[in-house]
Symmetry: C2
Subunit: 379 residues, 2 copies
């Protein structure tokens, strides 16, 4: 199912290949986020052209709208959204704990009110797995307890205990044919909790492991710490997924820390505000500096936007609220992320990831605005 092809001599970076029902995924991989069954503003052709291998879908959002009766009738999520390639579905744990109004955390899940209409709902390991079975995703995630990063140690410990129990319950549920199930290690920035949670999940035996509860508003050093303390306890022969991350520079650093899979709403989210990612950092395409700049967003970029349009034109479109503007920045940013991962894979294969990492980080100027946007991003 997962083949570890090569490891980097200068870091924990790994080159791998993950086989799923709907196709093979080369890792490290970035997974564009299609929360509600669509990567915001992009169509499947654009996604494939820019090199998308696997999409994310979401249990919580899709089960609310359109509802499982519709997706069941369509024959599953791949059919419904016309994406015949791999799909990973998040379990809804993160959304229940971040979006919904929780009424009560119970032994077998969470009673909560929908963020849409306030209706009373229940989601737990059993329900989340049943939904993902019907979505027929290639990779299902366990239903976890994802507490705020500011939680007290005692709450964090309780969340880890719940996450472990619920993970076990998820494993007992039936799956869609060929469906893989990944465990999610929680524990915040507490090294002992992360170790405990990771070990317990590994003992249960999942097809892959995610590190959750990162990118929930905490500062960057805490993100890396959470990864660093959990990673040593994850089996080398299985894929590791760092959930909800990150900026381009963070992705490079996370690969170097042994992570294989990533998802993040940043590329499309900031695009809708006119922010474009380049290898030197983020730029605001709306800026007056670009009003007569007839170069593409990023020289050498092969995305549709950079092959066809100038910064001046895209700036105009964004400033007059033409949808094509945010579409094209979404195309560029998503391609930028996917190409970055392709380059990372090529450098690991060639044994040059160390230099690539050093140069990339040296050239990339992090933007506070983007980091804030990530911290506040819905998923």
């Amino acid at each position: 199912m997962f083949e570890l092809l090569k490891t980097d001599p200068t870091s924990k970076a790994r080159l791998g290949r993950l086989t799923t029902t709907h196709g093979i995924i080369e890792t490290p991989v970035f997974m564009p986020v299609g929360t509600q069954g669509s990567v915001k503003a992009l169509d499947p052709r654009e996604l494939r052209e820019m090199g998308t291998e696997i999409l994310l879908g979401n249990t919580y959002h899709l089960s609310l709208r359109p509802g499982m009766d519709i997706i069941r009738a369509a024959g599953g999520l791949h059919q419904f959204i016309n994406w015949p390639h791999p799909i990973l579905t998040d379990s809804g744990g993160y959304q229940v704990f971040s979006l919904a109004r929780i009424r009560k955390i119970k032994a077998h899940g969470v009673e909560f009110r929908s963020h849409l209409d306030g209706s009373l709902l229940f989601l737990g390991p059993r329900e989340a797995m049943a939904i993902q079975r019907e979505l027929r995703s290639d990779i299902a995630m366990v239903f976890d307890d994802c507490p705020p990063h500011t939680s007290a140690p005692r709450e964090m410990r309780a969340a880890v205990e719940r996450t472990k129990r619920w993970a076990e319950e998820c494993l007992e549920q039936p799956r869609a044919p060929g469906q893989l199930v990944f465990g999610i290690a929680q524990g915040g920035a507490d090294a002992a909790l992360r170790e405990d949670c990771a070990k317990a999940l590994v003992a249960l035996g999942f097809d892959g492991y995610a590190i959750g509860g990162v990118s929930v508003g905490e500062p960057e050093p805490e993100i890396f710490k959470a990864i660093d303390v959990a990673e040593p306890f994850l089996p080398a022969h299985l894929p590791r997924y760092a959930m909800g991350l990150g900026t381009p520079a963070q992705l490079v650093e996370l690969v170097a820390r042994g992570m294989d899979m990533f998802d993040c709403v940043l590329p499309t989210r900031v695009a809708r505000n006119g922010t474009a990612f380049t290898r030197k950092g983020a730029i605001s395409v709306k800026a007056g500096a670009f009003k007569a700049d007839f170069r593409p967003i990023e020289g050498g970029c092969e995305c549709y936007a950079c092959r066809h349009f100038s910064r001046a034109y895209l700036r105009h479109l964004l400033n007059v609220n033409e949808i094509l503007g945010l579409r094209m920045v979404s195309v560029h940013n998503s391609r930028m992320y996917l190409k970055l991962m392709a380059d990372i894979r090529a450098h690991i294969a060639a044994g040059t990831f160390g230099e690539f990492r050093r140069d990339f980080i040296a050239n990339y100027v992090p933007s506070r605005k983007v980091l804030l946007a990530r911290a506040n991003a819905e998923r």
Copy 2:
């Protein structure tokens, strides 16, 4: 420049070919509207795939934003928006009279305040032609006085006199290389005024003639009347353009009345509210009736949306405000208009336009909602 290839024996429908600097256009033709330099939500590849031969741009909007200094620096509108095919530009007359706050109508144009920031501006024949020269459009329109359809006879007469004078002034202005200039006949629903205006413009000698001041909120019979009374005075060997029209059924009827060129914001405008055009009339894709309808918007349609997505999926996207939903309905509707014109051309060529017209009108159920949307449409 214009070749009249065939006329229909049962109506005034004409098959033609219009040669412009950037390409040849088969008529009757529908021109998608790119008011601000983008057909709303669509990219040039999509436009070409659906059969777009010529786009519309707008003097008023483009001169305000991004401003002529930018478009001049880009080398013209084709370069700026990356559309190497024909472009027709409207003169801004309609927008000045419908969007701007007019301060004073003067001998050589209109003093008005920008609808964006209230700044005081002046647009007249000289200015409109200078802008269109810099836009380098293939077809420029004269700057006309476009009064409300409810205007008193005296005002309507004054508008026609101004339109005639300004048309003459437009003709005296320099043009971009190879640029064609079309006159615009005004006169409301007054047959004598329409005749007078049309004759005066024809005497001046333009490359083509438009009928303006239609589709400004008046009922459908008045639209057809305005066309019917002006058409006999337009030279048969030159193209005729019915401005700002209309629904699919209206286009069929306008072709039958001898019109060759059309533009309308309807296909993309109503798409953004989830309304799709079919050959049987408009449908609201958001409707509950489609929630588990896995057929395409329109069976047999070759657009990207109909080849890839179900009504159920598009309904879901529209209901959760995913941009892909309105994008795909915009794709379908624009393709529907362009394919309708392609079918009309094929039927005129085959001598079967009479039957086609009869069947189309018999099957097409007009929608009051759509007619209202057209009447209120910005251009």
